[in-house]
Symmetry: C2
């Protein structure tokens, strides 16, 4: 076979950086699978979002054929506006809903435009040298796609995020017969979602949530407030159905609810009668037992609708005894404290709170371990790379694949920056490349790195102490240095500590003069003196910033 090997490169989504992005190169052309972003952890001080580092693609800009978006979640399409800023001419393929959500993201980025091309599950498209087939998968957002890429070296199958709900709300389960057919023809390389690979068992059907919702609505006496992810449109559908079934009107509250619901309805993935939905200003005219609010804030985000209600600071909604709040959503790791703070706040207002810890009001969007075994036995891939998950998930998924018969030496647990090559039906590890993460902070993309985060972290723990040292032409101290602190001790206790710090610094710096000080030595001396001083006085290690002023 004369064509070069097919190269799969992993830019994000493997390991700790949950911003999904991979590329597949065929005959010198590059297909991008997803352009996701991820959200900062506690150690990412001040960072807004985190992008995969695609700088390895810059010199290949002209070779990028297309972006395929597997579904509409932020960790799969959130980086698209930034990607299109760097590669403005690349067309984007996705379903109508995925494209609709992606386009609505672009409106937040002035000057960035995209050329969107619609595809659908069951279709096959030739995109440049890429022979692409899309398969329907269920997930926690409608219109998820798996992507099969037929190449001269064999077929690569990318699952996207998926689960195997056999009774989904829209009655369109993951298209296992189609997967089986592809398996019959032979899958040379499978890339599949690992998110729940270390969760034993099966994920219950989304319908089980509907049952719980109907019970909650049946029991509720006052208003019912439900929060979930706005993109979880089937969940919203179930809330609307339960509410309407209980004789209630529905009101959508919060920016992303108000942004996404019209798109979903226009595209036919969300269904309700106009008369069943009211605006927020109309809600107060209704008796509480006819009101359902569907709102943002499932993760305790500080300015989301539910968080404001919990804090008693929502301008239009004041919760009260008799109201019921349903948190029909997962607890994303890292958000626990914020979510529990929300629940405590809601409880304090008198609301009854139903959440995943107390009732079956959420199911995961990712297949669990036993379902993944089904999937592997249907696909029967010849080689496998677990994707979409932390390292522990990918290793667990590798074990499942091995249990299902994929040979161990054909299972590759990769990390971002790794690549695999497919040649003549054989898969091997390729060259690795510089992948990583790019921090977005305010207007800056990539101008904050680990050093800045370390500085921010140090100041966040211990505060900062500035010493302004005036010197004469011979670098001799003039007067007493000025010392200023922020975040070391409280303002009311700072005065004597600051005065003493300045005196000790002056003494130390005068002691240095005989040795013919120059500014850099002065600076070092100031840092050492003040470090010692604060440690002795407070046990703290503020960041010391000396500034030398010429008299």
């Amino acid at each position: 076979m004369s064509s070069p090997p097919v190269q799969v490169r992993f830019f994000g989504g493997l390991g700790e950086i949950g911003a999904n992005m991979a590329t597949i190169e065929v005959d010198g052309r590059i297909l991008v699978l997803d352009t996701g972003l991820t959200f900062p952890d506690a150690e990412h001080h001040g960072i807004d979002v985190i992008l995969p580092d695609w700088s390895a693609l810059r010199e290949r800009a002209g070779d990028i054929e297309a972006v395929v978006l597997t579904h509409g979640h932020e960790d799969h399409l959130g980086a698209l506006p930034f990607f299109l800023r760097d590669f403005p001419d690349v067309p984007v393929y996705g379903t109508s809903l995925t494209n609709g959500l992606a386009e609505s993201k672009l409106t937040e980025h002035s000057g960035v435009q995209g050329e969107f091309r619609e595809v659908a599950a069951g279709e096959r498209h030739q995109v440049g040298p890429f022979d692409l087939e899309f398969l329907r998968v269920t997930h926690s957002i409608p219109e998820g796609l798996a992507t099969a890429l037929h190449t001269p070296h064999g077929t690569v199958l990318h699952s996207g995020d998926f689960k195997l709900d056999q009774t989904p709300i829209d009655a369109h389960p993951t298209d296992l017969p189609h997967f089986a057919e592809l398996g019959d023809d032979g899958i040379a390389l499978l890339l599949a979602d690992s998110t729940n690979a270390d969760t034993p068992g099966h994920v219950p059907s989304e319908r089980t949530v509907g049952k719980t919702l109907r019970q909650v609505f049946g029991d509720a006496e006052g208003r019912v407030v439900v929060t979930t992810f706005a993109s979880h449109i089937h969940r919203v559908q179930q809330v609307v159905d339960a509410a309407v079934g209980a004789g209630r009107k529905v009101c959508f509250v919060g920016r992303s609810m108000l942004r996404i619901m019209p798109i979903a309805r226009d595209l036919g993935v969300l269904d309700y009668d106009d008369e069943d939905v009211v605006q927020l200003h109309e809600v107060d005219r209704l008796p509480p037992q006819q009101v359902t609010l569907v709102c943002t804030g499932s993760q305790g985000e500080p300015f989301a609708a539910l968080s404001l209600m919990a804090a008693g600071r929502h301008r239009q909604v004041t919760l009260d005894h008799g109201d019921t709040v349903v948190m029909a959503s997962s607890v994303i790791p890292g958000n626990e404290s914020a979510i529990y703070r929300t629940i405590n706040g809601l409880t304090r207002r008198g609301a009854r709170v139903v959440h995943t810890g107390s009732a079956d009001v959420h199911v995961s969007g990712h297949a669990a371990a036993d379902e993944l075994a089904f999937f592997h036995n249907i696909v029967r891939a010849q080689a496998f790379v677990p994707v979409h998950g932390e390292y522990r998930h990918m290793v667990a998924h590798a074990d499942i694949a091995a249990d299902c018969g994929v040979p161990r030496d054909r299972i590759f647990v990769c990390e971002n920056g790794d690549s695999v090559l497919l040649e003549d039906g054989d898969v091997r590890v390729g060259q690795s490349f510089d992948a990583g993460r790019v921090f977005v902070d305010g207007l800056g993309i990539g101008d904050v790195g680990d050093a800045v985060l370390r500085d921010r972290g140090a100041m966040s723990e211990e505060g900062v102490c500035v010493a302004v040292i005036t010197v004469d032409a011979h670098a001799r101290l003039v007067g007493t240095p000025q010392v200023v602190q922020q975040g070391v001790v409280s303002a009311e206790r700072a005065e004597p500590l600051i005065t003493k710090a300045a005196e000790e610094l002056a003494t130390a710096l005068r002691g240095e003069e005989d040795r013919g000080s120059e500014p850099s030595l002065l600076r070092r001396q100031a840092v050492e003196t003040l470090r010692r001083y604060w440690r002795e006085q407070t046990g703290r290690r503020p960041v010391i910033l000396p500034v030398i002023v010429d008299h």
Copy 2:
């Protein structure tokens, strides 16, 4: 009845501050129930530990009769060294294990000593005017106590932390017959643990963990590393038993393991043969299948033994393929990211990791909702205050008590700073007082407050910008200001931004001179100019620190 009402005051442990402490006042004398501390959340930048604010007790120092410690957990006794610093002459009552753990804490605080008096479950003691009876409860540490205080106004029962494991490891379940007897005589006021009140069902027995451990040890081929809380001595006992049963030696690793195990063994709550326990330096001589390490780090604490192993930085232990790690511990909210990072690191080293998400290797130490109903029906209290929990837990517990027949108007959901009065068998809400929290940071106790935390938080998100402005005797700018930044942008990109900032600042300050500037106006002008500058240039809002220097 002539004696004044019994007053119960809540200093901590109710709501968000999990540092348990309450007082009961009888005839002008004060009994302190627990002196716990709590650990900082992400927003408590740089804080080491958080104490309840007991300043309301300061003017009553001479009236404090005793401290009773219900059990040996940090959130019940961790503040004792700080408490004894303020109230050095107060005797401390607890079981032998609780006192042993408390005394070993005191050794970390030089100059603080305590007078410990031993009590045991089943005993009755007259302590000043306090007629105290102690009852055995099971919990995730041995020797938990409930405390019944018999007063002329009725009996107050405080559950301590408890669960109702009917088959505990030491075969000593919570003493329900004794609780029933007290109930027969009448409980005027019950204070009971609410931690799991919104968790449906029952907590499985600690023995179920032993079963899983034996399976894991049976399957393991290489070394087995188990982490749990060092204070969870029954859990450690089960690990030791499973290890020895599988023909392995046990080695304790990590500071708190090495501190607590000898105390526990001396006091007879932990049992093992000398020949079954080895030191870390002896481990390498043993084949892997004969090794069990019991170590600290269950919460992903950065410098704990398991965390170092996960990062490949433990000096004596290098994990490898074939090793098994068991995380036989809960995931404390807020620690998820650190714990998952540990699991990912362990997996990367090749270890198989068994944790609560994948196997039954942990059970809670607190009774769940259905068990609390048992408890209320046995105690039959006339009035009830839920304690030990966040607001949502206390409200859930109030509902359970009401379902079990405690009249709604005799259930009081309190917060820290509230008090209740018991008079003649009747309970009512008393005066509230200033409770709160005291931050310990380095050597300082209480010198860091919310304002300092806000400053630290601001710097952690956006960095800091210092402007040194030299002025003449007329407050006119001399030369160009010096601008220094830390944590706003990376050092390599800072130079041109800083230079331009200084120029813009100079222009702005010169423009002010005509208006007869004085230092405070100059300062304000500098802050405004630099705020605008950084926002326009970077979209960030660093903390601006202007320093005026006289020429």
